[in-house]
Symmetry: C2
Subunit: 283 residues, 2 copies
Amino acid sequence: MIETYIIEQLAAVAKYGTLSRVAEELHISQPALSRSMQKLEDELGVKLFDRSKNRIALNELGELAARHAEVVLTAHNEMIRAVQEADRRSHTFSYGSIAPAPMWEMIPILSQLYMGMTVSADLQESDDVLVRGLDDGTYSLIILTHPLDDNAAYFSKPFIKENLSIVVPKNHRLAERASITLKDLAGEKILIHNKIGFWYGVCKEKIPNATYLEQSELSAMQEIVNATELPSFITDVSNKKFPAPKGKIAVPITDKEVNVQFYCVCKSERAKEFAAIFSALKM
Amino acid sequence: MIETYIIEQLAAVAKYGTLSRVAEELHISQPALSRSMQKLEDELGVKLFDRSKNRIALNELGELAARHAEVVLTAHNEMIRAVQEADRRSHTFSYGSIAPAPMWEMIPILSQLYMGMTVSADLQESDDVLVRGLDDGTYSLIILTHPLDDNAAYFSKPFIKENLSIVVPKNHRLAERASITLKDLAGEKILIHNKIGFWYGVCKEKIPNATYLEQSELSAMQEIVNATELPSFITDVSNKKFPAPKGKIAVPITDKEVNVQFYCVCKSERAKEFAAIFSALKM
DNA sequence: GTCGATTACGTATTACGTAACAATT
DNA sequence: AATTGTTACGTAATACGTAATCGAC
């Protein structure tokens, strides 16, 4: 039986060529390495090296052994990775969301129901990534702007609604309007946060010829909103946390794409397990 | 890094269920095993067992780890096997033969040319097995009753000839004949050695309704030949080593299938390497 | 009472680093 | 002289077995 540390050393010798170099890389002494390789040859009953007085090199058999050593180490590392990953999953409730608002809303619900577990939330811009994540077990739950059709495979339930408005200075050309459409924003220069899930794509796609000032830091975002006259987005949900600044007006946008009903979705086989979550959902 | 001995122990725990049983199987003490499994959990940072006071069992994570342990051990064992096999091959000249006579004839030739190497001879009944063995490197050389057509891939050279006779008592109905064919042996009860390569198949196939008394021990074979009146086979080559017994007569068999020219065959890329062998061949 | 697992403890193994040496470059 | 690998030797880490303990069947 060949111990792992020797297999690791063999692979390193194949990689770095000389014992002294390997000793440096692995933070052990040359003599220790020299002895390990002798022990390895001894255990296999085979010569793996061409040795001259102060030169050592893997021979053909040694190269073969080193290639196999790589295979063993790969399996070894995969074992550790897989076990630790499985453990992490068993202590973590992971869910993904297409938008920040329902993601935030979900946190207190899950934290209470899964006390002692890590709750991991993941914001995504695309439905596909979320559904794939649900399928492969990355997510236990996902939040979309629509239910999933396949009722045999998935269980969907409505969650919160969210409606978009544009925040403009009082003297802005749109400030007097009771409501607008995305088209009305054509040509505007707009401040936009770029970590807002599907909103980002919808806004960029549906507003003709707009230019954007992007910002990923939330606090910096707030600063700029307050300090400039630029239009920015707000929703009825986000309004509670981050009220529109004084001196500006929020004008609702009427397009159906930005007035959404969220849905909370899980695999149907886990619907029972998550019953408590679903009954805790505000709608 | 998890040492191999611990991975082996984990796999054994999954296999045998209890620590005491495993300790017995692996010839170590229970405490040693108990500590190993604790160390394993410690290194992975993960609980692998459900423990009650005097019962221990792998949990789901432990089962996963054990399955991976099997994979690691398989790779580990394959490494050892492959290296030792490659080493053995490098110290062994292996060849296969379709018949005993040329196999024996080859031994002194190879022993002299490959001094210090092990010469390994293998008797086979079928061409296919030999050619496959030549292709995959199991054999460096094979001996057949015909050359191999593909001159780009193989190099073939005639070796010895061998001719079959039947040995019968002087009062046997065929004893007076100068020669016979296999058909003439129809219905006979014949002594036959069953480790004679292709001869075995040819004789069994070409003689109608014969019954056979098989024997695989050579010395026992000789005994029976001497002690009974049963016909048996002999060839001009084997006759030198094991002369036909007194009071019996060897009658040549004329069928072309049993008067063969052997050929020594190697891969063409190795023909140069084996030039000394081929020039030492008697024909 | 037996069996299975764990803990405690002393021992034996062994892998290690330092030092010294030999041989190349 | 600097670099590389090996051998010698004492040390430190560690894996081991024995004995003791604790519960469960």
